[in-house]
Symmetry: C2
Subunit: 188 residues, 2 copies
């Protein structure tokens, strides 16, 4: 039971990492098994299909997001929380420039499918971030917190995609600085 769970967790973490780097479609079960140091045939004991592994990767991203927002919530001021979020994004600039936002690129890939419903799962994870950001804007008493959240998260997805496409982490730094100034400029 304990070692079973441990293996399952290793597989989830490996799925998240490998799928982020290679994309869901190019990633094989064998790739994930190797990264998790689990024999290929054994994977099917924990995950019945490849799609379940992709779903596990999404869960892993949601978990990481939860950890980040939990850390940020220790800050008393919602504005500082949002600025901390932007700083976390910029801190990941090298990863973003090489492979893009883990959740965003996966969502884009899954949205091309017709079946399976994994696309909706990806949307759910994005919603999680959007809702948390909206909550911060609301606490600040700003008008249209949902629109502001869309703008901030959209800017993040956009700068990640451009940094990735142009292979330039500097884009994250530059746009990040603009977002910090923007957050400071907002008044209730």
């Amino acid at each position: 039971m304990k070692s079973a769970s441990a293996k399952r967790r290793r597989l989830m973490a490996a799925a998240a990492e490998v799928v982020h780097r290679q994309g869901a479609e190019r990633t094989t079960i064998a790739d994930i098994a190797r990264a998790a140091d689990v024999p290929v045939g054994n994977v099917y004991y924990y995950f019945k299909t490849k799609d379940e592994l992709v779903a596990a990767a999404l869960d892993e991203h949601a978990r990481h997001l939860g950890e980040l927002t939990a850390r940020l919530e220790r800050l008393p001021d919602p504005r500082e929380r949002l600025k901390g979020l932007v700083e976390a994004w910029v801190g990941q600039r090298d990863v973003a420039a090489r492979w893009g936002c883990p959740t965003g690129t996966l969502a884009a890939e899954l949205d091309k499918r017709d079946e399976g419903g994994l696309d909706a799962e990806a949307g759910r994870v994005i919603r999680l971030l959007l809702d948390w950001v909206e909550g911060q804007f609301r606490e600040l008493g700003l008008p249209g917190p949902d629109g502001l959240a869309l703008t901030l998260v959209g800017a993040y997805q956009g700068m990640s995609l451009l940094a990735n496409a142009l292979r330039d982490p500097g884009i994250m730094t530059r746009e990040g600085a603009r977002l910090l100034a923007w957050l400071d400029s907002l008044e209730a």
Copy 2:
């Protein structure tokens, strides 16, 4: 010669459409051949590999972009050209909500590869748009035209990804309106 070119053009158009909807990885040569109404085996007469078809899809997107900017350049005021660009994006909201930005989603997918160099090709097409937008900001005499271009194109990529992930074309309308107001607010 004439029918040969016609078939090649049909294959290019089909590649652009099908790859946009299904993604490069999930799209098979047979899918493209069917959409172009060309026998599968004959495809290889025009394109030696699947990657050449993906490259052709990128060229097709670059061509569409060129047509759009050429139309916009008939407008005398660079600010109106940029607003026309945003309006064109919003006009494609239903397509964006279902499959994302054709170039952006393809760039994100190709950037996950290590070999082939198609990722750089995708970056080139994004650069094309970025450079054109930067030129408009420069004509307006605004400071930091390259940064402004990054912000505008990034916002487009971000709103396309969110609209796609949440399957909500309304996001394009909403963010589009914000961008139009932003463009109007900029002063030299």
